[in-house]
Amino acid sequence: VHEPLLSEKDETTVDVREASPLPDDLTREELTLPAPSEPEIARHYTRLSQMNWAIDSGPYPLGSCTMKYNPKFTEDVAADPNAAIHPDRSARAAQGNLELQYRLQEFLGEIGGMDAVTLQPPAGAAGEFTGIAVAKAYHEHHGNDRSEVVIPASAHGTNFATAAMAGYDVVELPSGDDGRVDVEALEAAVGDDTAALMLTNPNTVGLFERDITEIAEIVHDAGGLLYYDGANLNALLGRGRPGDMGFDVMHYNVHKTFATPHGGGGPGAGPVGVVDELAEFLPAPRVRETEEGSGYEPFEPANTIGKVHGFGGNWLVLVKTYAYIARLGDEGLADAAAKAVLNANYLAERIDLDVPYDPFHHEFAATAGDRDAADVAKRMLDFGVHPPTTKWPEMVPEAMLTEPTEIEGQSSLDDLAEAFNLAYADTDDALDAAPSRTAAGRIDQVGAARDPRLSWQALDGE
């Protein structure tokens, strides 16, 4: 299976200066790009799409990345042309969009147990950056010049990168033997320099941080803030709220928690919720009801950090988020979380791999033991499923971090388990040769990185 590059089908060069009303010194000379017909375009992208796995193809149990089915009707809601207005309209002329933003702020606040929400961050990592920037603004506003952010070793890479981007030093907190935060280590790590502790709960091996109340107390006593990474919020819905556990700031990953499509990498959305004390630092604008209560208006929080996106973030994604939450309601969200946990536990029970840490919730980190987790994953491709996240988190050797999510039925979980078990038990040769039933064979990623060819121009003459 192979589809030529568009440039291999056709390249057309236009003499720009001939065509342009502009003086020659303001224009380029020519432009060379493919000029396919609509039928050629349709076939090109149709074929490409057929060379691509998706949640609509089958199981996609990427632990922590959380890939779940996206209800189709949310696409129709977001496609409403009335919603696709320019962001620079006056508030008076954009009451519909402002109302939806307001409603979603309210939904998210309620779900997270947070007092104020911004929808602006265009992805989870942007949400982290926003949250940490808000925390920083808070400390600075109160005259505290804190320099460190504490992050458990098992945390997402984004946590570390975010803290660094915000100008903080990172203090890495080793995991306890049970896979959770080691409270004593935490006590040792936090202090006057601690701006925040960033925590994922359930954590990245699916374990609930049982000592969360104590953890919150330790951080707060040191004058730090507690940051909730929303990556695993989907496991908690209807059973607990970060705000109620003592978290001060959090971000929501809408594609992980609220089934917005991931689009092969994005767009996402990473709204941030905070407790009252931090609300005045949130990005501008937020949306509130007008005083007369007859409409909605944007407003600038008193000590806003400014902006984290040129406009209001990834609007179309936010609309889908709203539609998803409205569809499920409290009851449906709680069901989704419960079923996600049930499915993870059922699947773990059915596979032959060990799962060192438990009781886990919506995901589990199995270990491939003396097999290479990446090889096992490649072999799973041959059995018609997408494999789990591999070799992460590092606390589990040859980890296969698995999250089937609530959407899989029993037969699909059984298929997944079978793929796990067949691949895990397969011969070394079979694993080395895997995948063998896919559009492309095993790709030499080291080679690709050694000699980067990042455009069709770079392939010319090959």
Binding site: A54, A125, G266, K307, P452
Partner: protein, 396 residues
Amino acid sequence: MYKRQERDIRAECSRIFARNDDLVEFLGRGHYGHYVPSVVDHLADRAEFLTSYTQYQPEISQGFLQALFEYQSMLVELTGLPVANCSMYDAATALGEAATLADRVRSTSGDVALVPEQLREGKRAVLENYCAGADLSVETYPMADGNADIDALADRAGDDTVMVYAENPTVRGCIEERLAAVGDLAADADALFVLGSDPVSLSVLQEPASVGADVVVGEAGALGLPTAYGMGLGLFACRDDFLRQVPGRLVGAGEDAAGDRAFTLTLQTREQHIRKERATSNICTNQAWVALRAAIHAATLGPDGLVDLANDCVREAAALADRLDEVKGAAAPVHDRHHVREFAVRVDQPAAAIAGDLEAEGFAVHAIGEHLLQVCVTDLNAGRTDGLVAAFEEVI
């Protein structure tokens, strides 16, 4: 929150969105609407694209990887720079990432990012937040009649400068006439020359590489996306030297076990999931699907269509400015430059009041100063300029 049927939610949201006024928008300032051909929706909405995840298993993700590779290639052609990533969130965050790139590659020489005096507020605000973490300060250089004031910039740029940012077209739609001079100044100061633009304008304007741009950022969502209430697609391209300092994802061509060409995410050691706090950015989820849309849109236009579209944006702006200039109490364009899509209009009466009156007539324009409006015309509203001109005559 109670559970509702999809039908009821569709009806509710439809009612909510209908509360947005029915306006003809002449709005731009860096965020543009062009007609997106239907085929873009139909293809990008294919579930295998829309409901896929990041391409961590390239063997079953060749389709999206190739589409992103083609997107990168299109930007390489448009910018003349050899490296383009496969998306940032939007123009503002791409600019922010350019600043942190400048900080990394030019960190010994200073801590100032120079930006034009005339710049979208929001873009600057985002840049400030990115700069804050890197201990950079954002400072402005003056503009002269809508273009960078080269003399003033020469005075301002110096050892403390890690980056000089310019836009073409500017936020007021003016085409910069001395970009190569800006590039020279930046080079002299050992600062990165970061140029902001968009793929439609780039189809006809000077190739950034030819004026010395080190990095090109901007809003690539001018292709493939409706105005979408500000949702965007961050364009990011740069010189080869910075390959290992690029933020965001890169798709590369490689080989599979059979020796066939295959695509994969590459140079991932730059990224947060491997490099953690030493990553080039914290970006993870990006705008891949929007990049796919932009690539499809560009394919439907082809180079002819792109050039035509850009040229129309030049002609329509000039024509509309001429007509508004004839309205008593209005003068346009304010700047004696060539324009793409948009231009400033000076009005005798207070601009905000006039914008409000125009809105009441069904037209949205920007009020950008006490007596300054800004008007943007593209293929989407070019057929409604008669109405706008009449409304101007009515309200002024």
